[in-house]
């Protein structure tokens, strides 16, 4: 995207007043999105966003500037803005840039090669399938989005990395209503790859599935509040691991001791069955990439091994502070953002328990079928998750749907109440927000039994 000699001179300008490391991140992002709402294709949008960000690291300080203009003059001015405030001898730039190439994620059908009419047809199919589930389906919104993001990262220590990332996501949201009761259902698969996502998933199945979730939840009774055993459905429960365990193991919070896991390496948090891994290398997953946004190759990092805290995730800056090589978790939303430590695909590895037996073992409890999302305070580890689809378990069987259920607890403690892990591993794609930046992530988990949790709802226990 930019000639090597221009990169060299730009990095030289960035280090002209000192600093330990200069880095340039160049991005060319093209995207297309279609949205169907109220049975009409309402929005067809596309665009191109090109820019470069320059970062100068000096001690513990990162200064940053970015531009939309990729001319050499504009890059030089951006480099000067990024080094503002530094007053030292010029730093040196490694002249022999070593190219880093991460593992690719195959794109079978390039989204650019698929006509907008074909993309629009998938929306119509999903809409029709969702509406065919009954007159109680009142509204359907279907969206399709593809993004191609080409990045180039070069730094004064000689790193030069490129990645070409294509992601596709398809989402169906259904609103159902009956006698003043309103319920929603949602399906939103995505991957790193091309339009073949919609060959792997039948868009009509996605429409029907979102509709049937909404219809089932029309019968929901108010959730009880109190302490209960909670069974997490495969896939969806992974967000709990992401929020409750993952965020506190991002090294930027660890080095600030703003994490409930700080200085607890080697401690046991869960049973032998609990192993948690963050893995950006898994082929074609929504949270995968070839190299991270600092040019470090994607890798797999074990966070908890057999219940014991053994790992963390880092970017270049936090790795330096923690005295450990970066784990390839430096990600940024775009050239307009500083890289920060982020998760990629975070999994609680499957166990040996029979999922049906796990449900049978619960006398009275909550079955969390779909989490709507959640959040955690990394410093305290406290988390809250909302369930958009949940059921009461009575006498070892799923009894009836409940609404308004919230799961509330503490990250370091929750691993200790994992009493069973099923063999039925599943994943869910999501978008994680941190410091105002969004990143595509996948969370994976089997059916899991949490022995005793606080559930928030509208009815006394």
């Amino acid at each position: 995207m930019i000639e090597p000699d221009v990169i060299q001179r730009t990095l030289g300008a960035a280090l002209a007043a000192g600093g330990d490391l200069a880095e340039i991140f160049v991005e060319d992002r093209t995207s297309m999105a279609l949205r169907l709402d109220d049975s009409r294709i309402e929005d067809v949008t596309s665009g191109r966003d090109v820019g470069a960000g320059i970062r100068v690291l000096a001690g513990d300080r990162a200064s940053y500037a970015y531009t939309n203009l990729l001319t050499e003059e504009s890059l030089r001015m951006t480099a000067e803005a990024a080094r503002a405030g530094l007053e030292g001898p010029a730093g040196s730039v490694e002249t022999d840039l070593r190219r880093v190439v991460g593992g690719g994620h195959p794109v079978v059908v390039r989204p650019e090669d698929v006509g907008a009419a074909d993309k629009a047809a998938t929306l119509v199919k999903a809409n029709d399938a969702a509406r065919s589930q009954g007159a109680e389906v009142r509204q359907v919104m279907v969206s399709y989005a593809d993004v191609r993001q080409k990045v180039l990262i070069a730094s004064s220590d000689g790193r030069l990395a490129e990645d070409d990332r294509t992601r596709v996501r398809f989402a169906v949201q259904v609103v159902a209503a009956r006698n003043g009761e309103i319920a929603t259902g949602f399906e939103a698969p995505g991957h790193s790859g091309g339009f073949e996502l919609l060959q792997r998933y039948d868009v009509e199945d996605l429409g029907r599935s979102a509709a049937s979730k909404a219809l089932r939840m029309l019968d929901a009774r108010p959730s009880p509040a109190g302490e209960f055993p909670v069974v997490l459905a495969p896939g969806t429960g992974g967000v709990l691991i992401h929020e409750a365990c993952g965020h506190g193991l991002e090294a930027d919070t660890l080095v600030k001791e703003a994490s409930a896991y700080a200085k607890r390496h080697g401690e046991r948090f869960g049973s032998e069955a609990v192993t948690i891994v963050d893995d950006a290398t898994e082929t074609g997953l929504w949270g995968s990439f070839g190299v991270d946004d600092e040019g470090t190759p994607a890798q797999s990092t074990v966070l908890f091994e057999k219940g014991v805290l053994v790992g963390h995730m880092s970017d270049v800056l936090s790795a330096e502070k923690i005295g450990h090589p970066p784990t390839g978790n430096g990600r940024r939303q775009s050239y307009a953002h500083l890289p920060i430590v982020r998760m990629t695909n975070t999994n609680l590895l499957p166990g040996d328990d029979d999922p049906e037996e796990i449900i049978r073992s619960v006398e009275r409890g909550v079955y969390a079928a779909t989490f709507a999302g959640g959040e955690v305070n990394p410093a305290t580890g406290n988390f809250v998750f909302g369930m958009s689809e949940a059921y009461m378990i009575e006498n070892g069987a799923i009894a009836y749907p409940i609404k308004g259920a919230q799961l509330i607890g503490n990250g370091p403690r929750v691993l200790g109440v994992i009493d069973a892990i099923g063999s039925d591993f599943g994943r869910k794609e999501g978008v994680c927000g941190k410091d105002g930046q969004h990143a595509p992530v996948t969370n994976g988990m089997s059916t899991v039994l949490l022995g005793k949790m606080t559930v928030g709802g509208t009815e006394a226990g």
Binding site: V44, I408, V455
Partner: protein
């Protein structure tokens, strides 16, 4: 800068072909950001992003495209893409551009702090350092300050359409926040506080830092309380977040498409009698104010709920045309890369007249809610379900009984509105995905889920 941006907008609008209306929307920002940790600058960013988005309207269709490449070639490619995108849209008589009004709308006072131009970057860095210091120095139990941030922007916005809308305005914004971590006897609590204004000279680093520390300090020793039905008081901070969820259900588009808990309830009593909920895009000093909205329609005040009765929703041009009415000037975009949609400008409840102290003293035993957890998953503007985790204080007649954590509160949102007994006169604006005026608010009964 003004001429340049408006010139590019009018140039794009001028390239409309017969039967088309072209709308061009451009922004040019000067942004600054500094983050301090442990007495040192940790991150600093300066940038000047620009970009354009165009909508092409033709025969009941609309297509959109955006670009950061403002060269003649980049602008042409954007226009071609928007034109092509329009051809795949389902035709609809409601789809069309905003209608021009007679002359430009009056300006809003105080959108620009002229003094902000003279604030040098090193003053901004000093401000963030002072914020960090004030937070850390508040009490020895403040173990760390996770981050202290100062940020500002100077934004020029220009719009032009081939049917006669054109204009440009400028706004300056400055904001700061601090995140304190307090620790005592193995208990860790966090405190977040922020402030925002048109310029740095109107922000107080010491005040914000001390308040962030105080929030964390007063929460030390928090525990669960038993599950119960009891009165709840929202702090301005949480009341504003509640309005943020409510706001998603208050647009004409959400109602037309059945994605609102208020659908089909116009004219009904949906809140306590005497309660007024309004949106006002022209309030001087409020962060969501602008002379015109993101389609170029003059902003206005809309009474959404008056005397407890649902009166109106918020509209952009397309959703208004669908009901044969006028836009309320509530078109909003998250930037030049986004198509506009209706959203609140400055949304708030009118105060019922009490001071915060009067409200708390008269309320008896209440759960004071200082922070929500899991709002985006636990609050549903379509079904009206509201169930979130909270931290706060158990109060009796305004006196602290104990700090509270790891409990949930829940009630249908319409029930919450009906149970609002008082809105104090201490409104502050919260810039969380919009601009929401939160004030200390008493709700007579909610379900608290704890032990």
């Amino acid at each position: 800068m003004t001429q340049d941006l408006l010139g590019l907008a009018t140039d794009l609008a001028g390239r409309a072909k017969g039967g088309e209306v072209v709308e061009a929307f451009l922004t040019h920002e000067l942004n600054f950001y500094v983050k301090v940790f442990s007495g040192e600058v940790e991150a600093l960013s300066a940038s000047e992003p620009r970009g354009a988005g165009v909508r092409v309207f033709s025969e009941g269709r609309v297509g959109f495209s955006y670009t950061t490449d403002l060269s003649a070639g980049g602008r042409g490619a954007m226009l071609d893409a928007a034109r092509e995108n329009a051809s795949f849209v389902t035709p609809d008589v409601a789809i069309g551009p905003a209608e021009p009004t007679d002359g430009p709308p009056p300006e809003i006072e105080g959108m620009v702090d002229r003094g902000q131009e003279d604030v040098r970057p090193d003053s901004k860095v000093r401000f963030a350092l002072e914020l960090d210091r004030a937070t850390a120095a508040r009490d020895k139990r403040v173990r760390a300050v996770e981050e202290s941030v100062y940020s500002d922007s100077d934004t020029e916005i220009a719009i032009a359409t081939s049917n006669g809308i054109f204009g440009t305005y400028r706004r300056t914004d400055a904001w700061c926040f601090s995140l304190a971590i307090a620790e005592e006897d193995d208990d860790t609590q966090v405190g977040f506080e922020f402030d925002l204004a048109r310029g740095l000279n109107h922000l107080d680093a010491v005040d914000v830092g001390q308040r962030a520390a105080d929030i964390a300090l007063t929460a030390l020793g928090a525990s669960k309380i038993p599950s119960a039905r009891m009165p709840v008081v929202f702090e301005p901070f949480t009341a504003g977040q509640f309005l943020g969820v409510l706001g998603q259900a208050l647009t004409g588009e959400a109602v037309q498409k059945g994605r609102s808990l208020f659908a089909g309830r116009t004219g009904d009593t949906v809140a306590a009698s005497g309660l007024t909920l309004f949106d006002d895009g022209r309030l001087p000093g409020a962060p969501g104010s602008a002379p015109w909205d993101d389609e170029g329609v003059p902003t206005s005040r809309t009474d959404i709920i008056a005397g407890g009765v649902l009166r109106s929703f918020l509209y952009d041009s397309i959703s208004a045309r669908r009901e044969g009415r006028a836009s309320t000037g509530n078109a909003s975009r998250s930037g030049f890369k986004s198509v506009p949609g209706a959203a609140p400008s400055n949304l708030a409840l009118e105060s019922t007249g009490q001071s915060r102290d009067e409200l708390l003293q008269g309320a008896g035993k209440v759960l004071l809610v200082q922070d929500f957890h899991g709002v985006h998953s636990g609050a549903n503007p379509v079904s009206g379900d509201f169930s979130v985790g909270v931290t706060g204080m158990l109060l009796d007649g305004g006196e602290i009984v104990q700090p509270v954590k790891e409990v949930t509160i829940a009630a249908p949102m319409l029930e919450i509105l009906s149970n609002i007994r008082a809105v104090a006169d201490d409104r502050r604006w919260l810039p969380f995905g919009g601009s929401f005026g939160g004030a200390t608010t008493l709700v007579s009964e909610m379900t608290v889920g704890g032990l």
